[in-house]
Symmetry: D3
Subunit: 136 residues, 6 copies
């Protein structure tokens, strides 16, 4: 399935080839997954999306690379994006996520969804102590 | 606001008092936030919810306590639970989250929401390489 | 707050007055809640929305009126619609929802959100036994 | 598909076997659906999840078992969890849900989603009459 | 898959046949897509749903038909409804959506999801200038 | 409320001042709304977010500026982001959205949410005719 037809020879377009080459170099792997192939239907969208993913996910920052993958999974599960859950679970494993960490991730994100429902159903008012602005 | 009226003297109920005492002991703080006060309208629901939150969030496990708080925030933001975002951001700060880490958390969860939309809009098929079952 | 300004004298418009009169008659109450006042900025949208709410929620059907209110709450909580949670919790109470039923409702909808996360995170394949079409 | 590989011989683990035996005994059926097989990758997560599902869904409580299944469907549809929709629709049918009740369920949950959008788009302020705390 | 079995000979029911005939006449096409076939399990639900879709989507109104299809896609992507994304992307193309417009649509809806996360994570208070009621 | 305290003198930071100046110049208005003030807690996040919003929303592209605002509203309503709904409804009005167009927008996005629920609840299989890849 799919709502666009990915290009049959994507790397014939030099802008697409440059992005795919950078994906392979950044990841030190020949594998370019379907997300990028499908985005190649619009080279500008492909370039911008990869540039941002590379800047946020593949560049050293305040959070550990594995933590960032697990946060990605948390959002993707909550949004129900099957593709993203599969691809970022694979990435987290490649970055060392153990089975015990995976199970713990599932414990936390499923508990969070549960207590989100409770707080929302009760419409609990926010405690004044939680207001960052009150502390300026 | 709120959809239930929390009990006016919650600790008059010994089951509620036992939970509140355990919250204070576990957190080494006198502060019991509104979530627990509102849940006290049903002592069974209060007991079960606290028992699970304590087991998952306040017990050493495969993931770091701060990482677990950030995962909680990621889910709560995606679900739009204002109360939960406020309370878990406060907890993450109490566990040492820096401003740089907070900004990085926001970069990751907002990028994840963005690429979730792209993968979902394109209905990108999952790569066979991501199927954990194919690898058994 | 609000993204439209509700009409200052809504019942000056005969189409709005007719809807408000029908709301009062159907509910046997003088109270017209804000939802209808805000929708009155467009009489056609007001008429169609009320007609559908009346047909589904205020007309005898295969499900009990209180069950229908609790289903409404379940969807509204999952979508995070604060207004809807408040108004339908009030309606459910008016139709006899007890505190024990309210707590049970919260147990079910929070557990459902939790196991939704687990099934989605694991991308569990649907059992053939659940396919209604296979049984034709 | 799937993000974990379920164990090839799950009942070789006595903790998994005990849960599966209890599922079969509780449901009076030999069928153990995929959700539990996939959760078996982590016996602790399996045990806790089943214990909670059994306590909430398979234990007499303030709400009727069929009503609880329909609430589960309402949340699962709103969260877009295909697996959960299939499994709980099958459970609801097994507990007696008629076609007329199924259609009525769909009428209510789709109308709720619709009016959620309207109230949220208009940012309708909550009526004071709906505040449970104002009535203490 | 599917949670109901669509009727094997749907047009044997005159109410279903009348709806299907109107779908074909309105769209000037022999193709009746699966959504309507599945809804035919309950003729009343089928009739009401088609009547509303026809009134909103196939009747001249303040917004252009293609704009309405793109709005439909925006909601469907955000809700993660795969069926709806496929069917409304096909409809938008049939109404003239170009590849450039499709890419632009994806740029806007993915950016919106991203900044929704940021505003929600920061719990930014609404500016008084945005309150339509303050301007009455 | 808020989960960060915005800087008390944001334009003392030259990076923040440059962004705020560009916002004012792009919009031809002195008004800088709270979103940017709150994002100023991290100048890098502020710069990147504004750069992207400007590129997508304030640069001529394949879609009309008002259409892009309405798509933004559609996503924001579906995600339940109150801040975003208020700010983009104000922007849409500033770009000429009439009351009739606003009502039509609400008709479409609420209908989409409704039929999303129906298609998801029924788990309708995607018609082969909707698969863009089959047509390559």
């Amino acid at each position: 399935m799919g709502t666009v037809a990915p290009p049959s020879d994507p790397e014939a377009d030099p802008r697409v080839k440059a992005v795919f080459d950078d994906i392979r170099a950044t990841r030190k792997s020949d594998f370019v997954n379907n997300m990028w192939l499908w985005l190649a239907f619009d080279p500008d969208l492909l370039e911008r999306t990869w540039a941002e993913v590379k800047a946020v996910m593949a560049t050293p920052s305040a959070l550990d690379p594995l933590v960032k993958e697990m946060l990605y999974i948390a959002v993707s599960v909550t949004n129900g994006c099957g593709y993203c859950i599969h691809s970022h679970t694979a990435s987290a494993r490649a970055k060392g996520m153990t089975e015990a960490q995976h199970a713990d991730l599932l414990r936390v994100i499923s508990l969070a969804a549960k207590t989100n429902q409770l707080a929302t159903a009760l419409q609990v008012p926010v405690d004044a102590a939680f207001d960052a602005n009150g502390k300026q």
